[in-house]
């Protein structure tokens, strides 16, 4: 279960796209002579680099470092992240504090879901805060079972089970349901030798 950053990725791509288009259009206008006077006024940017002078080398090194830093930042930004696990802290009536690792709750919730016949796979992640817990879950259900039954199980049994453990309702619930695409095998294995 991974979290991507659609808006940020698209904004960065948009900035790069606009810069490339602007540079290209400017190049076309100058090369086609549509900006009178620019051809003579703008010097060839490659010419100062050709003789490998100190300033040229320093410039290339600086540009190289900047590009590498930007590339590393972009790659880190692109990588999807898992929603963070939290330690939930509850105060009892006697003032005693109880800590509950949300990772443990998530694992227990997934294992509990798998005990139901309709569920073939479950990935559960409990996050948020103690007072505003958030559930993110992906349940895979059997293809041959009525989908309404599976959805009912998730809404009426699985989610309340986790809420029961946390002692309160989720602030937000994000549930995705998949259907198992594995074909059902035969109900019984029969050895050819047994038929003879």
């Amino acid at each position: 279960m991974w979290q991507t950053h659609s808006a940020r990725n698209r904004t960065i791509l948009g900035i790069f796209g606009v810069l490339l288009v602007a540079a290209g259009v400017l190049g076309i206008l100058v090369a086609a002579g549509l900006l009178p006077g620019m051809v003579d006024r703008v010097p060839n940017p490659v010419a100062p680099l050709a003789d490998a002078g100190t300033r040229g080398i320093a410039g290339v090194l600086a540009i190289g470092f900047i590009l590498v830093v930007v590339a590393v930042f972009l790659l880190l930004s692109v990588l999807p992240r898992r929603p963070r696990a939290r330690t939930m802290r509850y105060e009892g009536e006697d003032g005693a504090l109880t800590s509950l690792d949300s990772e443990v709750v998530s694992r227990a919730a997934a294992e509990s879901a798998l005990r139901h016949d309709l569920v073939t796979d479950a990935q559960v992640r409990v996050g948020g805060t103690t007072h505003a817990p958030v559930l993110r879950a992906r349940y895979t259900v059997r293809q041959d079972a009525p989908i309404r039954d599976s959805l009912g199980l998730i809404s009426e049994v699985l989610i309340p089970e986790v809420e029961g453990v946390l002692g309160g309702s989720f602030e937000a619930v994000h549930v995705r349901v998949e259907v198992s695409t594995a074909r059902a095998g035969t109900s019984q294995e029969v050895d050819l030798a047994d038929l003879g």
């Binding site: 698209r10 791509l13 948009g14 190049g27 490998a52 190289g64 989908i147």
Partner: protein, 185 residues
């Protein structure tokens, strides 16, 4: 504050941005390598020296400059398209989804496709069923060995509609069903 969606989102364009990042990284690494080599030897390494010599002789009116500019514009448009075109969601919202109440309930498109194809394939005479579901439309392609396809078409369409009616989608999609006899494709 209204909760944000976690599952029912547009594609994040991670691959496109990853490609841009890798290309930038390669260009940057090339610059650093060339700069380091030039610092040691006092001249640019090959083949960069040849490219710079050729580039320093170019004028703005050279066709190569025009060509490179056109390529840059095309690349820019492709990158912009990646940023702007929304792309197809991988999920469909189902009944009970209420973001204001902090409840996001979605079914994957593949799940709907699997349920429809599995159900249609159980019909007599159907050898294969391929489904493409977009959220508003279910395109079903049924393959059969039977020459007379009217009965199969009717049964398959009825089955698809009943399966879709069972799924608590927020809006009922259109059905586009085509039956093909094996060997006629």
């Amino acid at each position: 504050m209204r909760a944000q969606r976690f599952w029912h989102v547009r594609p994040a364009r991670s691959v496109a941005l990853g490609v841009v990042a890798v290309l930038l990284g390669l260009a940057g690494a090339g610059c650093v390598w060339a700069g380091a080599a030039a610092t040691r030897s006092g001249s640019w390494p090959d083949p960069l020296r040849g490219w710079l010599d050729r580039g320093s002789e170019l004028s703005w009116s050279d066709p190569i400059v025009l060509g490179a500019s056109i390529v840059t514009v095309i690349l820019g448009i492709v990158v912009l398209a990646c940023a702007v075109v929304p792309g197809r969601r991988a999920t469909v919202v189902i009944e009970g989804d209420d973001l204001d109440a902090g409840r996001e309930l979605v079914l994957s498109m593949r799940a709907v496709e699997a349920v429809i194809s599995g159900s249609v394939e159980r019909l007599d005479g159907v050898s294969d069923a391929r489904v493409r579901f977009t959220g508003t439309k279910a395109r079903v392609r049924v393959l059969t060995r039977m020459r007379e396809t009217d009965g199969i078409r009717e049964a398959a369409e009825q089955r698809v509609r009943s399966v879709l009616a069972e799924i608590p989608l927020s809006a009922q999609p259109k059905v586009d069903l085509r039956v093909t006899t094996t060997g006629e494709r």
